[in-house]
């Protein structure tokens, strides 16, 4: 389309700017876009005499537009004699009474043929078939993308088809279908859940007792006692209150807005009819093409990284706020087995409110994920009284606020049931509760919420409280926002949950359970700059993986391209490197610098370390940097 021709053309009464050019083959393209923009990579040359434009009307425009949409699409042309040809539309000419040219056309029905189907003889498809307009009676096309949305999808789908998905293989274009397949539609019972939930209502509602039935039918005596598998529900005078509180919290949590598609669906937030996404987008756990992912993942892997650090080495004093953020997050995500000693200083713990918000939202969502995993999620009546760790949230206390009278409560994430004991054995400093069940939590709820409410909504600061007891390192943080009273602190709670949290949460879960056996009394690791370097011989290529290093947990937060960016003489990449183990080591110290940390696969080629004794600083800040003299192998 020549944009220069725009000026020459008349515009119709309704203000469309239209352009028209004609080719010899009669192809005409028309653009209905108001701004007159047409994407094209090839300019169409108007060949031959351009006829005076026919009286232009919107209806003619539409016709031309639609027939253009047909290009490349399989169509069926019915001739006036009754024959039918199928092929790919190459071009049409509306001027000439809808002449059409088909490529790879086949006659699918021959009007002149009279006879039984058996004898019909197949013919080769014609490469190009020109059908004069006079013959054409009708042109039928199915699934024509008429608007932009249809077009882009189509191309995507077609590209996918190159990869031969199952449906295209089995679609049996070539073979007659035995029967007409129609997609399954659910019954009218329930649009989303076909009545499954109705069947298995709670035991108090169920009219059917399986044990009774069994006994009756088969004479089997049951020794099932529900309370063997769970903790007794203590029905006390405060029951009603607790229940009410719990339901309120549950409702709040569930009613929150979320950006996560899956959460939204769970909560029944309707995405809208014309939500642009097929089943994969809606239901898959793979999230494609969302820019947020990268940053989210980094954060989460950071959590894991640091968590590993702290667990193995005890607490490492956080040297910067940014790192602290991660550190806290890591520990908070971990269960009470996390070994943070309480020697962290206050100033180090202070964070920007942004960081904390993010932290909150992440842990919140993460906790929520884990809450879902645990047997009792928000059916609070079940949860009440059971010492459940169904509320794995951390509360962070803002310190330094005079309005808070000191009740520093410790609640920790109890991800793993194993750690319950240690949790419970903790004695609260002031009024810490041992039980981390909802009930226990709620027992203090009045005080908690009241104290929480007193806090100004901005800038919660983190403090680590030393808790006595076996597990000495317990992170005591209170998140004012996330503890269910999300609505109280709108600022603090950013309810936007990160989709990337879910994959990490499973990792966290598994890892925390692994590490719960770590020695809580392990000494804190302090980096010794004067330590001799270890130079393995070249013949030992693979180190046994250290407990901490696990390839999948490493990440490079700020690395866009690996080494070259610094113009270092040696690429940092896979070159002479440290094992993952040591990498962990440097991490906290490097914190302020945020240097790119290359990704090491622990089982990858590991070259001998060529660390110079005399340059500990280099080692410290630029892990992977080698002085020029060392040999370079990449």
């Amino acid at each position: 389309m020549n944009t220069q021709q725009t000026a020459q053309l008349k515009s119709s009464a309704n203000g469309f700017a239209r352009r028209r050019s004609e080719r010899e083959s009669g192809m005409r393209l028309e653009n209905k876009h108001q701004s007159g923009k047409l994407n094209q990579n090839r300019s169409m040359n108007a060949i031959g005499t351009s006829k005076a434009p026919v009286y232009e009307s919107p209806s003619r425009d539409r016709l031309v537009y639609l027939s253009t949409c047909l290009i490349g699409h399989p169509v069926e042309v019915r001739l006036k004699n009754g024959s039918i040809y199928s092929g790919t539309c190459h071009t049409t000419n509306v001027e000439q009474e809808f002449a059409i040219i088909l490529k790879m056309a086949r006659m699918t029905k021959d009007a002149s043929y009279r006879g039984s189907k058996q004898e019909y003889v197949m013919k080769a498809p014609s490469k190009t078939l020109i059908i004069p307009g006079k013959e054409v009676a009708e042109v039928i096309a199915k699934d024509v993308p008429v608007t932009v949305a249809g077009q882009s999808n189509e191309l995507q789908n077609e590209r996918h088809e190159d990869i031969l998905i199952d449906s295209s293989i089995s679609h049996s274009r070539h073979v007659e279908l035995d029967r007409e397949l129609s997609p399954w539609v659910p019954d009218e019972d329930d649009p989303q859940c076909p009545g499954l939930e109705n069947i298995f209502d709670g035991p108090w509602n169920r009219g059917w007792d399986q044990f009774e039935t069994n006994k009756m039918l088969f004479g089997v005596k049951s020794t099932f006692d529900e309370e063997l598998y769970t903790t007794r529900l203590e029905k006390g005078p405060r029951m009603r209150e607790l229940e009410r509180e719990a339901t309120r919290i549950a409702r709040e949590i569930e009613g929150e807005d979320t950006e996560d598609l899956h959460l939204a669906e769970e909560r029944g937030i309707n995405l809208g009819e014309d939500f642009d996404g097929d089943e994969e987008v809606r239901f898959s756990s793979v999230i494609r093409g969302r820019g947020l992912d990268d940053s989210g993942y980094d954060e989460d892997e950071d959590i894991l990284l640091d968590k590993r650090n702290t667990e193995t080495f005890g607490d490492v004093p956080a040297s910067s706020g940014a790192k602290t953020d991660h550190l806290h997050r890591g520990t908070s995500n971990d269960s009470a087995g996390a070994l943070l000693t309480s020697s962290v200083d206050e100033p180090q713990c202070s964070q920007s409110s942004n960081g904390s918000e993010f932290f909150q939202s992440n842990t919140y969502d993460h906790c929520r994920q884990q809450a879902d995993d645990l047997p009792c999620k928000s059916s609070t009546s079940d949860c009440n009284g059971r010492s459940l760790y169904g509320n794995p949230e951390i509360l962070r206390v803002a310190q330094g606020h005079d309005s808070i009278n000191a009740s520093i409560e410790t609640k920790t994430v109890a991800v793993d049931g194993k750690l319950s004991k240690s949790n419970e054995s903790q004695s609260a400093e002031n009024s810490q509760t041992a039980g981390f069940d909802r009930g226990g939590l709620l027992a203090d709820a009045p005080s908690v919420t009241s104290s929480v409410k007193e806090m100004p909504p901005t800038e919660p600061e983190v403090v680590y409280v030393k808790a006595d007891g076996e597990s000495s390192g317990v992170s005591a943080c209170r998140q004012p926002g996330t503890f269910a009273s999300g609505s109280d602190h709108a600022g603090a709670t950013s309810a936007s949950s990160h989709p990337a949290v879910s994959p990490s949460s499973s990792l966290i879960g598994s890892s925390s359970s692994e590490n719960s056996t770590l020695n809580p009394h392990a000494k804190e690791f302090k980096f010794n700059p004067n330590a001799k370097s270890f130079t393995p011989s070249h013949s030992s290529p693979v180190r046994p993986p250290s407990p901490v290093s696990d390839g999948s947990y490493y990440f490079t937060p700020n690395v866009t391209t690996l080494p070259q960016m610094h113009g270092m003489p040696v690429g940092i990449g896979m070159g002479p490197s440290y094992s993952g183990h040591q990498h962990v080591l440097f991490n906290p110290q490097v914190a302020p610098l945020r240097s790119p940390q290359p990704y090491f696969h622990p089982s990858g080629p590991q070259y001998g370390q060529q660390m110079n004794l005399g340059h500990p600083r280099q080692v410290l800040y630029m892990p992977g940097y080698q002085p020029v003299s060392s040999s370079q192998h990449l």
């Binding site: 290009i71 039928i140 274009r173």
Partner: protein
């Protein structure tokens, strides 16, 4: 064959958006919604099906061939002008893709064979690699099945392959017979 409808029907009959039930002289009957009607060429463009998505079933019908039609109702314009763009490049790509596909398909069609033969070919191709050689089906490059494509006509190949093809052929034939 000219239809009996007079072409001097008023414009309102074919107003955009109206639902019509049409019988064509070719024996087609369908319901559709008018997208546009072009007077000079007498072409009526209809949209079939009610799903509102971006893809529609479209029919271009010359009004000469309308035997009869009835007005079902009036609805709004099915085409949203604002969303109507065409990307030429993507059209061309699509065409190329379709052509490639069609050529691949064309390989599978035997020239000068009966539909029955083609059906057998297609059925065999579901599980075995087959290709045409004039009017014989060549399976796994070894076994030939020539007209009239009965188990007796299976020739060649190792005994094992031969038997396998025979078996598949029998089954497919049986299946084809039971199907109407």
């Amino acid at each position: 064959m000219e239809g009996s409808i007079s072409n001097s029907g008023s414009n309102e009959d074919f107003a955009v958006g109206c639902m019509l039930s049409i019988k064509t002289t070719l024996g087609d009957e369908f319901d559709g919604q008018v997208i546009t009607f072009d007077r000079p060429s007498n072409i009526l463009v209809l949209q079939e099906g009610s799903k509102p998505g971006p893809r529609r079933n479209i029919r271009f019908l010359k009004t000469n061939y309308i035997k009869e039609f009835s007005f079902l109702g009036q609805s709004e314009d099915p085409l949203d002008i604002k969303k109507c763009y065409i990307d030429l490049q993507s059209l061309q790509d699509r065409e190329e893709l379709a052509l490639r596909q069609a050529e691949a398909d064309a390989e599978r069609i035997g020239v000068g064979v009966t539909t029955e033969a083609q059906g057998i070919f297609d059925a065999l191709s579901k599980t075995l690699p087959v290709r045409w050689d004039k009017t014989s089906i060549v399976v796994m490059n070894e076994v030939r099945v020539s007209s009239p494509y009965l188990p007796e006509n299976v020739i060649g190949g190792t005994p094992a392959a031969n038997d396998r093809v025979k078996k598949v052929l029998e089954l497919e034939r049986r299946r084809l017979q039971t199907r109407p």
